[in-house]
Amino acid sequence: MLRFIVRRLALLVPILLGLSVLLFAWVRALPGGPAYALLGERATPEAVAAIESQLGLDRPLWEQYLQFLGRAVRLDFGASLQTGQPVIEEMLRRFPATIELALAALLIAVCVGIPLGYLAARRYGTWIDSLAVTGSLLGVTIPIFFLAYILKYVFAVELGWLPTAGRSDPRARADHPTGFYVLDGIITGNLDASWDAIQHLILPALALSSIPLAVIVRITRASVLNVVNEDYVRTAEAKGLLPGTITWRHVLKNAMLPVTTVIGLQLGVLLAGAVLTETVFAFAGVGKFMADGIVQRDFPTIQGFILVIAVVYVVINMIVDLVYGLLDPRVRVS
């Protein structure tokens, strides 16, 4: 097990190296470049040259790359052009919000998606199945910003059950030692703050969960349909085992293998892609910061965001593979 983890972590090195080359090349290939972004389109060649010299852009490419790499290794992506603060600090401040939102969305998707997918497979061809399939198609196709506004309009504006935006009630006073507001409330003994944070999470999490929910329903359904026709399920029935044992030990344990992979991938997508949801609900996470960064050509932010998200992706994938190894002994050995 330990060797497996070490090997996977070692794989991170070439992946990140390759990614840094791509990212470096991509940023250099952008038209204009940072000098024009800083000075505007009508900058004089002398001013551009001065800035480029100041930023080290007149050095050979390999030297620039090494410098970029040397800084990136120390998590130094430069200062954000939006705020003037180091990019890494800006991101660290906002990451808890995004993680909280992504986990909440994933929780909804998993808790609803797996039972629904299982039910659809066991009631294959009935109205329950059709409903699940159609519903998941709708979940994938409906644009998140549209769904987000609908949810906001119905539950926040019309019914007034939930808050419309933000992460907490601005009038409430609460300490935030970790930045995870739900957790913070529990740590500081301020359960009202936790409850307030949960209420603020519900609508954005619902909106954000639509795609992963739909994907999980579909994968679970397809996977269960495959597994129930396997010989070993027939063996389990031939043994006269109770339906509960067959479902958990023989069907779900096998059917969850592909679902695990999908859940991991979806978590990566959620962490990187909460941009629209965070914007609609004015949820101050990294997605919103990144969206603003793109609009304002904030290159250091974009670079930092992409590298960090890439690391997150790779680490999540590694965790998925570890969980996979726990579930599937065949992977563990090879």
Binding site: D231, T235, A238, K239, G240, L241, R249, R330
Partner: protein
């Protein structure tokens, strides 16, 4: 009364928008305790469906069952699923064809063995584990303690089938059904597995149904043989009698198709012409008629009658109007000789 009595068993599969398919049609046979009964036939002859019907393992939707299956006095076809689950694995157990796919890849061998013991024999975890160890030893698996903690992919094919057999005999069933248990194995392993099955039946005194397309398996293992074709039993006899005097043209063709080591190498291998798809519905005539070398007009004059070529004590019924070795045309009620 026999251990297992199958009477007029029929299975029809229906699918919406398609013609119903009668996979098993009026099958009747007995299995006595300690007896091994072979059911022989090619793919699609209904032999596996027969075994699944006995186990009550046919899908609830789309499969329609007729006739009765009585195990030790209990009628199985009318039992509800809850009662059937108590019978399966305890009174009747099954060994499947491919041990690779029939064992759960993500559950240890030990757990797959103990779960049937805790379910039916009322053993607790620890007791079941000790019993499982004994079972593995009994089916000839060395180092059982280590094997209990392993997964199916860590075992060889023969070893896996031994595990399947251990699972099947775990609760000392009265009836063992083996559905082509050696088909997926190497020839040398096949012989070992058959030896094991023969010894287990002899020791435990349980009845066994051996489903196979391999007449060699039947010859070495079974007391009685039923030959199935297109969902019906076409010939039944004691193993010696069947091999010595095959009377249905289909049985005869199967036996002649076995390559002989003393045959002239220049001779072509004997085959039965056509395929199992060339068939006639039984109510219009003999299903084997299109492929039969002895076919006459009477073959298509309605369901073929059953000719009794044996004696009341040693029966040898054949569903044929012109059995091999008889020159008489058999009509209903007119039994040859």
């Amino acid at each position: 009364m026999s251990l297992l009595e199958v009477r007029d068993l029929s299975v029809t599969f229906t699918r919406s928008g398609q013609q119903p398919v009668r996979a098993v049609d009026g099958v009747t046979f007995d299995v006595a305790a300690g007896q091994s009964v072979g059911i022989v036939g090619e793919s699609g002859s209904g032999k596996s469906v027969t075994s699944l019907a006995v186990m009550g393992l046919l899908p609830a939707r789309g499969a329609h069952l007729g006739g009765t299956v009585t195990l030790d006095g209990n009628e199985l076809t009318s039992m509800d699923q809850r009662a059937l689950r108590d019978v399966r694995g305890r009174d009747v157990a099954m060994i499947f064809q491919d041990p690779m796919t029939s064992l759960n890849p993500v559950v240890t061998v030990g757990r797959q063995l103990t779960e049937v013991l805790t379910r039916h024999a009322g053993l607790r975890r620890g007791e079941a584990k000790a019993e499982a160890e004994q079972l593995l030893r009994r089916v000839g698996i060395p180092d059982p303690v280590r094997r209990l903690g392993e997964y199916p992919h860590q075992l060889s094919g023969g070893m896996r089938q031994r595990v399947m057999i251990a699972i099947a005999i775990a609760c000392r069933p009265k009836l063992l059904i083996a559905d082509e248990p050696t088909t997926a194995l190497d020839v040398t392993i096949q012989a070992q597995i058959l030896d094991l099955l023969r010894n287990l039946v002899a020791e435990s005194g349980c009845g066994m149904i051996m489903i196979t397309h391999d007449l060699g398996v039947v010859a070495g293992l079974c007391d009685t043989v039923h030959v199935m074709y297109s969902g019906r039993i076409v010939e039944s006899a004691g193993t010696k009698e069947l091999f010595g005097r095959p009377s249905h043209p289909y049985t005869d063709g199967l036996l002649q198709s076995i390559p002989r080591i003393d045959a002239d190498p220049a001779d072509l291998l004997h085959t039965i012409p056509g395929s199992a798809r060339d068939t006639v519905p039984w109510d219009r005539g003999c299903a084997f008629q299109p492929r039969c070398e002895r076919a006459v007009d009477e073959c298509l004059a309605g369901p073929p009658p059953v000719a009794e070529l044996g004696t009341p004590i040693v029966p040898h019924p054949v569903r044929c109007v012109r059995p091999v070795g008889e020159d008489v045309i058999v009509h209903e009620g007119n039994v040859a000789r």
